[in-house]
């Protein structure tokens, strides 16, 4: 894949992910009719994005193990969409404004969500063979 094509795929995926994040945050706040729910909405975004990214990463591993490349899939969905959908700076901004439980939940649950996604896609074993603990 050329660098320009990868850049276009990452940019379009990132734009879609950013808009989805913004819309989901507003819609969740609207659904519960409570403006202070923007931090819990960001937790939902980061958790679901981490789960989806883990699932995609597992699929990508399977594709590559089968001899496929999956570069477009990686650029648009994983790096672009999931990367743009989730936000670490937004999480830190919310943490600086308070929300200790949301902060702790995000820190603990997002890595496990990604791990769960990897297992759900069936692409990752529990631990890769040959790597010592």
């Amino acid at each position: 894949m050329t660098a320009a094509r990868r850049m276009a795929l990452v940019a379009s995926g990132g734009a879609a992910g950013g808009v989805a994040r913004a819309l989901l945050a507003v819609l969740l706040v609207q659904a519960v009719e409570a403006p202070h729910w923007s931090a819990p909405a960001l937790l939902a975004v980061n958790l679901s994005g981490s789960l989806f990214a883990g699932f995609l990463r597992g699929l990508l591993e399977r594709e590559q193990a089968g001899g496929g490349e999956g570069a477009a899939f990686d650029a648009f969905l994983l790096v672009g969409f999931c990367g743009g959908f989730t936000s670490y700076s937004g999480f830190v901004e919310a943490a600086a404004g308070g929300y200790p439980w949301i902060t702790a939940a995000t820190l603990v649950l997002c890595p496990f969500a990604a791990l769960l996604g990897m297992h759900l896609s069936g692409g990752y074993p529990a631990r890769p063979a040959g790597i010592p603990r």
Binding site: V26, E33, G84, T86, G90, A114
Partner: protein
């Protein structure tokens, strides 16, 4: 808040969403470039994710005092696209699978403490409240 609840599909809100889309597209491309550079030069994509996230936190803190017109483009869009939780979660999940607990500690509590520090410092330097 990006736009008021109930006003999502007004022309003004669509312009705000367009700013978010442009900012996030640019931020995502820059993030991919940073991670690629760390992966090829140091063999550590996880450090690229860390660098992109810290840069985004500096930017978000520094831009905290920006007017509402630029906030969707710079903070929600560009900084949001430059930083990533999903990329970090995948790196941490990979480190957990491989039993690299020092790396897990670096990227979860360690990175958060540094990111919060640089965010607050940037906000103070930019003239906002800590």
């Amino acid at each position: 808040m990006i736009c008021a609840a109930g006003d999502i599909f007004t022309p003004e809100a669509l312009i705000v969403l367009a700013f978010v889309a442009v900012g996030c597209a640019l931020g995502s491309v820059v993030r991919d470039g940073i991670i690629h550079r760390f992966r090829t030069r140091a063999g550590r994509a996880d450090l690229g994710v860390l660098a992109a996230n810290l840069a985004a936190c500096v930017l978000a803190g520094g831009a905290a005092s920006l007017g509402s017109a630029l906030h969707p483009l710079v903070v929600v869009g560009f900084a949001g696209g430059l930083s990533t939780w999903s990329g970090l979660a995948i790196e941490v999940a990979g480190a957990m699978r491989e039993g690299r607990w020092t790396r897990v500690l670096l990227h979860v509590p360690g990175a958060f403490a540094i990111a919060l520090g640089v965010y607050l410092a940037a906000r103070v330097l930019a003239g906002g409240a800590a």
